[in-house]
């Protein structure tokens, strides 16, 4: 039951600013005396720093600060503490920051960079995943064993490792009538938000204010505190409008570098990335992968065993990637009923740009591999791929690969509705096909807080740590607060981007705003509801328990004419006990998985509130050139009860478009030395409006207890899981065999058709 029907359109409050160009982003903010920051990058993928001399750079006119590792505290950070703000002794990827300068303009800053003397002794570059974990491979981090890391299995170039075992995989394979093996290789991709990141820092005494285009202001603040030795209450992160993030702006990036520059220069300093920097420098790239899956099945389609091995390109550092092997293992095993499983996943250090959370990390690639493999399984036993999934996918009350028993879930409804939405049985031209794939994605309960207040005119403000990066908290949180108070979403403004004002929230990461901050906002609003009911009870001479808040009024249950407006009550409260609510509450607990032996599972072996999806995609293949056009998409999602259909549909449409890009055009190409060959939109092709097919969205609104408010589950990442897989399965129907490499470019499709693809 949506709280806001599609018949009533709630215009997102930040929308007019953004579409008219009047919205201000970090790059639009100018402070008096502000300097320009620029970074000196390694420009070489693996080398020892023989000499680093910035004395000439410091003498360049107009330069007020030049920093290297010598100028900041020696602190390692990251989910595996393998990183420092500035390179020291060794550089491990081309975009590693060696020095930073602040100058009166970009030209002076560039002159300073040019004046830095740095000499390297090249070291052997590690780029191949299999070679990196072979005996005797050169180490990306000689000192890996001394790094701090909680609950992470590590060994040499294996940055983190997960295994999962349940049942007896050998026995399961022995019971199979068919054993099918598939190997799939995915190229790295990028989040590619349209706004390149910006950071602006200004000190006042020993306190610093940092404007940053971050999805996670509190994580950014904590990173600054950790690396520059500052208490949390002296670092204030403010986020103006953001031009997208898609995970690429999660984590802690350059806030500390800019703050350190501003402290030395004694002036405000602003950093704004170029597109090239946005491609090569941040530790947020979707990892390349090698995925191997072996599945045993009976002739009736029953799955008896699955063994998977996944190699992930961790890149040079581990910002938040230590949990990726566990995610990859679960996604490669999939939302299927299989009693005998064994999975091993390795995140491997290389001299590539570091991997990090990009929308549904590890999922699109592993889903693409698994679901391509699943269509092969169906073909082996002569079953229709949809019927095969209906038979083998988990349903309510059934047990998943990790031994978790699922409460009510909507995966089967998703399959049914996705294929119905695309008219699966339709007559197709001989160059057309429909592919289907299922996907899943976990929810991440966590701490979060919100304040709500109603002022004397009955207008409200929600002050929250949640961040708006396009995911719709500006819509959802007012809807939730309004629903508790019988008010309209338009009655609320959001103050949502200031760590010194709002309570903690993890930020726009892990699709968790509805789940965590939604819970906090509802709780805060409920406190005000109690206050309003008490005030109304006094006025209407009734019991507070009998007061109903609806349509902007408080009335006595059963007597709608006995009412007082909320505006009037707010006026009364303004002269007495103010209408203030604060909410946080206890996050839902993670379910425990049973019967699965895990190593390095990062505590997530049971998936809280898993979201399910099925995408069905109709394509046309030009058999002569390998060019694929997506004609139609039907996407069905179980994200629980949908709070805001406009926002939720927008998330699905955007996720599908990203998925089409990952399927067909987006892929980073590296040279032999580990450098990116296409770090620009000239050669890294996102999908455009001209490529957008019709996207039909269905929500399987399963009321999910113990998750988000009103039976909701998250939605932001789940739509970016199954699209590439569905496209792959459509292509295979026309080519006869899957394209074993992502993205499935026209050239690769053509090579697959003539045999001898590059695998």
């Amino acid at each position: 039951m949506p709280l806001l029907t599609e018949s009533k359109v709630f215009i997102r409050p930040d929308g007019p600013d953004k579409v008219t160009g009047s919205g201000r982003y970090v790059a639009d903010i100018t402070l008096t005396g502000m300097l320009t920051a620029k970074f000196l990058y390694a420009g070489i993928s693996h080398a020892e720093i023989i000499r680093l001399d910035v004395s000439a750079a410091r003498r360049v006119p107009g330069v007020l600060a030049v920093l290297t590792h010598e100028d900041v505290p020696e602190r390692r950070f990251g989910s595996i503490a393998d990183r420092t703000l500035f390179a020291k002794d060794v550089v491990r990827f081309e975009g590693e920051v060696v020095a930073a300068v602040a100058a009166i303009d970009a030209e002076a800053a560039q002159k300073a960079l040019d004046a830095v003397v740095v000499e390297y002794k090249p070291l052997q570059v590690v780029t191949d995943l299999e070679e990196a974990i072979a005996d005797g491979a050169p180490l990306v981090h000689e000192g890996w064993a001394d790094y701090e890391a909680a609950n992470v299995e590590r060994n040499g170039n294996v940055a983190s490792f997960t295994s999962m075992t349940r049942g007896d995989v050998e026995k399961g394979m022995a019971q199979a009538d068919h054993v099918v093996f598939g190997r799939y290789v995915a190229d790295a991709t990028h989040a590619a938000p349209i706004e390149p990141r910006g950071v602006l820092a200004q000190w006042e005494g020993d306190r610093v204010t940092i404007w940053s285009s971050t999805q996670v202001p509190f994580q950014a603040r904590d990173g600054v505190c950790e690396t520059l030795d500052l208490p949390t209450n002296r670092v204030r992160i403010i986020v103006p409008h953001m031009g997208g993030g898609f995970g690429g702006k999660c984590g802690f990036h350059y806030e500390a570098h800019v703050a350190a520059l501003a402290r030395v220069a004694r002036r405000p300093v602003r950093l704004v990335f170029s597109r090239r920097e946005e491609f090569i420098a941040p530790d947020r790239r979707r990892e390349g992968m090698i995925i191997e899956i072996t599945t045993g099945l009976k002739s009736d389609g029953t799955l008896t065993a699955r063994r998977v091995r996944v190699l992930l390109d961790n890149g040079a550092y581990s910002a938040d990637s230590s949990f990726f092997p566990h995610m990859a293992a679960m996604h490669t095993l999939g939302p299927y009923k299989i009693d005998n499983i064994h999975a091993e996943a390795f995140s491997i250090y290389t001299n590539h740009q570091p991997s990090g959370s990009v929308r549904a990390p590890t999922a699109p690639q592993t889903c693409w591999a698994l679901e391509s493999h699943t269509d092969e399984l169906a073909a082996v036993v002569g079953m229709d791929p949809v019927a095969f999934r209906q038979q083998n996918c988990i349903d309510t009350g059934e047990t998943g690969v990790a031994g978790q028993v699922y409460d009510e879930i909507g995966l089967q409804e998703c399959i049914r509705e996705a294929v119905s939405g695309i008219d699966y049985g339709q007559d197709l031209e001989d160059d057309e096909a429909i592919g289907v794939a299922v996907g899943w994605w976990p929810s991440f309960p966590g701490a979060s807080g919100a304040f709500v207040k109603i002022d004397r005119d009955g207008k409200g403000v929600i002050t929250t740590g949640a961040q708006e990066c396009g995911t719709g908290s500006v819509m959802t949180l007012p809807i939730l607060a309004a629903a508790e108070l019988g008010m309209e979403p338009e009655d609320f403004e959001l103050v949502y981007q200031d760590t010194s004002v709002a309570p903690y929230d993890e930020g726009a990461t892990g699709s968790q705003t509805i789940l965590n901050n939604g819970r906090a906002t509802v709780e805060a609003a409920r406190q005000i509801a109690v206050q309003l009911k008490n005030l109304a009870a006094k006025k209407l001479e009734a019991s507070p328990d009998d007061i109903v808040l609806a349509d902007g009024r408080a009335h006595v249950a059963g007597s709608p004419e006995s009412a007082v407006s909320i505006v009037e009550l707010a006026g009364v409260a303004a002269g007495g006990e103010l209408l203030l609510g604060k909410g946080s509450g206890t996050p839902p607990e993670y379910p425990s998985a049973v019967g699965v032996a895990c190593v390095g599972d990062q505590g997530l072996s049971g998936w809280a509130g898993p979201q399910f999806s099925c995408h069905a995609v109709k394509i046309r293949l030009d058999r002569e050139t390998g060019v694929v056009r997506v004609l139609d998409v039907s996407a069905a999602h179980d994200s629980g009860v949908i709070i805001n259909p406009i926002g939720a549909s927008g998330q699905v449409e955007g996720g599908v478009m990203m998925g089409i890009g990952q399927a067909l055009t987006e892929g980073t190409v590296y040279d032999e030395d580990g450098a990116q060959k296409n770090p620009a939109f000239l050669d890294y092709k996102l999908q455009t409006m001209a490529d957008a097919p019709p996207i039909r969205v269905h929500f399987a609104e399963v009321h999910t207890p113990n998750m988000g408010p009103h039976g909701s589950k998250p939605i932001a990442e789940a739509p970016n899981v199954a699209t590439a897989a569905a496209i792959s399965n459509a292509i295979t129907k026309l080519t006869g065999q899957p394209v074993p490499r992502l993205p499935m470019t026209a050239q690769r499709v053509w090579e697959t058709m003539r045999g001898g693809g590059d695998g």
């Binding site: 050139t625 060019v627 056009r629 067909l664 999908q687 409006m689 470019t745 026209a746 050239q747 053509w750």
Partner: protein, 264 residues
């Protein structure tokens, strides 16, 4: 950086002769600057030079934008214009800029090659016309002298009755062609085929032209022979965008299809 904004051709020519980098729509030059491949310290903006924006019959001023060509250009050139970048890029980018950059992937160039267009070059002291094949000499290299400015593109008075442009690329808009191609066929059967992105300069596939021009009503096998000859005649490379083998194949397929369109 020194910037000139001349309003007359002589003033523009003086600035060019003094070493200024010409700036028309900026859709190539600004990319070069953005990538750090160019950092001119002296620029001459050409947009206010009226002589460059004129378009009289078969003489297209160098400053004519892709948007104008899309609206009223010859069939295949208009088709090419429609695939140049985005609406914003078509509003800014000019045919003269496309010619001056001389990228192998320049969207407008196969048409100029297919119809044997000439480039009108003017210096403070002279005017000359160079046939396209004499003008384009290598990857982003032309026969233009440093003191010359491209002022117009001269098309033949009469163009072939049938023309078709197409490109193979990775998506539907704002794409750099993996292969671009123009095929023309006149009422007497005379056929030309010109291709981009498959050699250092735009090229013609003369053997394929000769073969198919002799066919008054080409059979299916003739069409595929045409395709084969085009694939043989092109000289593509392998880079991060595609392989030589794929480009060679796609060039032939595209040329055959455009020929089929001309024959319909």
């Amino acid at each position: 950086m020194e910037v000139h904004h001349p309003t007359s051709l002589p003033d523009a020519l003086r600035a060019v002769a003094a070493g200024a980098t010409p700036l028309a729509g900026g859709t190539d030059l600004m990319v070069e600057i953005n990538f750090g491949h160019a950092l001119p310290d002296h620029v001459v903006g050409l947009r206010r030079v009226e002589e460059l924006n004129s378009w009289e019959d078969s003489r297209i001023g160098a400053g004519v934008t892709w948007r104008r060509i899309d609206e009223k250009g010859p069939t295949a050139l208009a088709e090419a214009a429609r695939t140049v970048g985005s609406p914003q890029i078509r509003n800014a980018g000019t045919i003269g800029g496309n010619v001056a950059t001389a990228s192998p992937a320049g969207d407008g160039l196969p048409f100029l090659a297919a119809v044997d267009a000439s480039i009108e070059l003017v210096s403070p002291t002279s005017t000359r016309h160079l046939l396209w094949s004499d003008f384009f000499v290598g990857v982003k290299q032309t026969a233009k002298a440093p003191d010359e400015l491209i002022v117009a593109i001269q098309l033949p008075e009469r163009l072939p009755s049938r023309q078709a442009f197409g490109k193979v690329g990775s998506r539907n808009a704002m794409v750099i062609a993996t292969v671009g191609c123009v095929v023309t066929r006149d009422d007497d059967g005379k056929t030309t085929v010109a291709l981009g992105s498959v050699a250092p300069t735009p090229i013609r596939a003369f053997r394929a032209e000769e073969m198919i021009s002799a066919e008054t009503s080409p059979s299916e096998s003739a069409l595929f022979e045409f395709q084969r000859l085009v694939s043989e005649d092109v000289r593509p490379i392998t880079d991060h965008r595609s392989t030589e083998e794929y480009r060679r194949h796609a060039a032939g397929v595209l040329a055959r299809r455009l020929l089929e369109r001309c024959l319909r």
